[in-house]
């Protein structure tokens, strides 16, 4: 039983990262209707930035907070400079190609800037101390706490502020947003900025797992799990992203522990689960069936 519980919590610890990246994917999907394939690599770049701050002697928490700010600006710049010019092109595939290009370019750029020749991996200071609190790993609790804080902040921003209302208006009906005087371009920039900041948190959480050693492949598998999580929860639902991320994390962790036949290919269990959910509910667990009366 203790083993089951430990593995369950282990899965939560990993799921927090999937949930965060999925949340970033959902934010961009809702505001722009676009799947951002570069989300993982943007998070990777942010993680390197955070590492750079710690390398300059900053504490890891301060480095994370600073990185969130830097990533916010970076996300906005990426939207304005790389995404906006192709957004109005005839084919929506053009934007997809741009995000795929960013996937490769950002990864290469991060390696070029931050990794010295001959160096294999970098070391991220751990966010939480080793040890246990209330019978659970302190780190797992702390990571779950960060996810909860992220969700609460995002909820308050989207539901309780004027900016959040404007963001949701553009997601709902860009044409009408212009008619009430909102500049949709500015809102898309903010959407990318927020997603980029959430990605920064995800990246630092991913890097500071276990020993804290990480390299440029840090987010590649995470992105696949995050897409799975978002599909499971529903691409238009932030709540779905969080639940989906945690479910995928736990399912993955329990598979590794209990189903030895699938060793090395434990990926199939969460994906099998998702297949079943999507067969029953094509919009995901929390996705909306759009109903409109005319």
């Amino acid at each position: 039983m203790q083993l089951f519980f430990d593995q369950f919590m282990n899965g939560i610890g990993a799921g927090v990262v999937f949930a965060s990246v999925a949340l970033a994917l959902v934010i961009i999907y809702r505001t722009t209707g676009l799947l951002n394939f570069a989300q993982g690599e943007m998070a990777l770049f942010s993680t390197f930035v955070a590492w750079w701050f710690t390398d300059r002697g900053l504490g890891v928490v301060a480095a994370l907070l600073l990185t969130i700010v830097v990533s916010f600006v970076g996300g906005a710049v990426i939207e304005r400079v790389l995404i906006r010019p192709v957004e109005n092109s005839k084919s929506p595939l053009n934007v997809v190609i741009v995000t795929l290009g960013m996937f490769l370019a950002i990864n290469a750029l991060a390696a070029l800037i931050f990794i010295k020749p001959g160096q294999e991996a970098l070391q991220m200071p751990l966010l939480f101390p080793d040890g246990k609190t209330l019978g659970m790993q302190t780190a797992t609790l702390g990571r779950a706490g960060i996810l909860v804080a992220e969700c609460v902040l995002l909820y308050l921003l989207l539901q309780k502020t004027k900016l959040g209302l404007m963001l949701r208006a553009v997601a709902s009906n860009p044409e009408s947003s212009k008619l009430v005087g909102i500049n949709p371009g500015a809102m898309l920039m903010v959407g990318w900025a927020i997603a980029s900041s959430i990605g920064a948190v995800a990246g630092v959480l991913a890097a500071s797992r276990g020993t804290g050693s990480f390299d440029t492949s840090l987010m590649q598998q995470v992105l696949v799990y995050a897409f799975a999580a978002a599909a499971l929860g529903g691409f238009d639902s932030p709540l779905g992203a969080v639940v989906g991320g945690l479910v995928v994390g736990v399912a993955n962790s329990l598979t590794i522990q209990y189903i030895h036949a699938l060793e090395g290919i434990e990926l199939v269990v969460p994906f099998g689960l998702i297949l079943v959910v999507l067969l029953v509910r094509p919009n995901g667990l929390f996705g909306r069936n759009v109903v409109e009366r005319v």
Binding site: K162, L165, M166, R168, A169, S172, N173, E175, S176, S177, K178, L179, V180, G181, I182, N183, P184, R288, V290, V291, E292, R293, V294
Partner: protein
């Protein structure tokens, strides 16, 4: 005083020219109505005013300044509220949020008071304030779209076929309301409509469009009374 003036406005979609040099003007406090058959260019005229057409030739003046090349959002902020065809409500936001979005650029403190006022004027909206706009009936959504436009305290209200898809009784109610608002507040309106008889009842002047040109214009009462015009263009 002239509030809105179009001088030789041309425009269309891509290679297709829809408007062939329109001249029209609406005075402050007036209701103008643009009539015409499907495809005559009525909706395109409103889109040209609001900066929603790519290429607009000629000039559009609002309140003595030229707005021809401004962005849609800048034109909205300058005091023109547009209720587009199909109503353009935010379907997955609540009624309350829709109305607050109408006032999103207002900096005065009167937004809550205005909300209360429109809930009183449109009790159906008040009952449904936390309901998703997309789940309401067509008539309710039309009322919502009009109330949202009014929340911005516009100087000019553009309405694109407010009767579209509504039952005759509801259409009459919508026009009665528009007439009251025009009389009560002196709000200037430019309405595009196929239901000519109802629209002319609340209007001061009208234009009949045919394939992108004005073929008849005049005082609303004269248009409604002119047998030839009615038979040829208005169908009543």
């Amino acid at each position: 005083m002239t509030l809105l003036e179009l001088r030789g406005v041309t425009g269309g979609y891509g290679p297709v020219t829809v408007l062939h040099g329109l001249d029209l003007s609406v005075d402050e406090g007036e209701v103008g109505v643009i009539l015409g058959a499907n495809g005559a260019g009525k909706t395109t005229t409103l889109r040209a005013i609001c900066g929603m057409l790519g290429d607009v030739g000629g000039k559009v003046f609002f309140d003595d300044s030229e707005i021809t090349s401004r962005s849609t959002q800048a034109i909205a902020r300058s005091g023109i509220a547009h209720v587009p065809q199909g109503r353009g409500t935010f379907g997955d936001l609540t009624v309350d949020e829709n109305l607050r979005l109408g006032a999103i650029n207002r900096r005065d403190g009167g937004v809550d008071a205005d909300l209360a006022r429109w809930y009183e004027q449109f009790p159906r909206l008040g009952e449904r304030r936390s309901q998703m706009a997309g789940s309401m009936s067509g008539g309710e959504q039309q009322m919502l779209a009009i109330a949202r436009a009014l929340m911005s305290r516009p100087r000019l209200l553009l309405l694109d076929e407010p009767s579209l898809g509504l039952a005759p009784l509801i259409t009459r109610e919508v026009f009665d309301r528009l007439g009251e608002i025009n009389k009560g507040e002196g709000l200037t309106m430019l309405i595009v409509e196929q239901n000519a008889s109802l629209a002319l009842q609340i209007a001061n002047r009208g234009w009949v469009l045919e394939t992108g040109s004005i073929v008849v214009q005049g005082a609303a009462a004269d248009l409604a009374a002119d047998e030839d015009v009615r038979k040829a263009y208005l169908g009543f």
